[in-house]
């Protein structure tokens, strides 16, 4: 299985028939984008899950650092006033 170590990892995003957005559903190994799309179709849409598939190289994703979680996210915890529920909306503004 040495090829496993040579083929890059890809993240797979699938949009379901009724869904509006693509949701991350897993990852796979493939040698290039064309193969990754086919493999994604075969691995992640076997049970009618998909109407559209995106793949992206895992190493192209920039992720936040788990070690900076407190600095990044905790300051928002005591600022509930940022939720729009505190404001009265005019009746004709739907779907906020």
């Amino acid at each position: 299985m040495s090829t496993k170590n040579e083929w890059p990892l890809w993240e797979v995003f699938v949009r379901s028939k009724s869904g509006l957005d693509h949701k991350h559903c897993g990852s796979l190994h493939a040698s290039d984008s064309a193969m990754a799309l086919q493999m994604a179709r075969d691995v992640y849409t076997r049970r009618q899950e998909g109407a559209s598939v995106w793949v992206v190289r895992s190493d192209q994703i920039v992720a936040s650092d788990p070690d900076t979680k407190d600095m990044f996210f905790e300051p928002a915890e005591d600022k509930v006033y940022r939720h729009p529920t505190f404001y009265k909306l005019p009746a004709d503004v739907d779907h906020m």
């Binding site: 090829t3 190994h29 493999m39 691995v43 076997r46």
Partner: protein
Amino acid sequence: MDANTLYVLRIADACLIHGQRLAEWCGHAPVLEEDIALTNVALDHIGQARSLLALAGVLEGRGRDEDALAFLRAEREYRNPTALELPNGDFARTVLRSFLWASFMKVLCTALAASTNAQLAAIVAKSLKEVRYHQQHAGDWVVRLGDGSEESARRMGDALALLWPYTAEWFADDEIDAHAAASGIGPAWSSLQSAWRAEVEPVFAEAMLTPLADTPFRSTGKRGVHSEHMGFLLAEMQSLPRAFPGAVW
């Protein structure tokens, strides 16, 4: 059996036997992703075989259902072209056969859309979507391996040398083709050859492969006279239904 039943049976058995061969890769493919892909293709073929065998059973009119036809016939009663029963060999041979056959199925299913048998036309309408993907997936591998490393190109060349002569049988008409064409149930397979070549040649060009010259060799699986590999395949495929008649999941 009448000629139209045998015509349908040839297609049904080709799907069944090819599906059985591809299923042998389950758990053995080079990578996990391809393992699932090959198994998907195998299941598509088994599904096609089920519909077509059920239809053949109706046309035959002796009360045999898809299981009876799939599992309880003797070797000489199977009508698949020999190419599909040959052992898988390596991955190159497997994907090349899959590509050659998917290309054939694509042109056959397209032509069968005009069949005078409405049920057959309906079955192939569904199959056509499946085989278009099989052709793309397998063709992709043919190009990757044919135009890949020295080793992969050698293996693809070996696969071509072995498989190509067996494709001649697909286009060698007999009285069953003539009857099918006359009755309108489906085309004589020889009439599909140029369309098939048009499907195969662009992929071959990309894969640095050249179709081989025709030889006098004609395999005879379509007439029920199979290679030495068929008996072993059937022994494995039929063992469970024969040991446990009527077994269900």
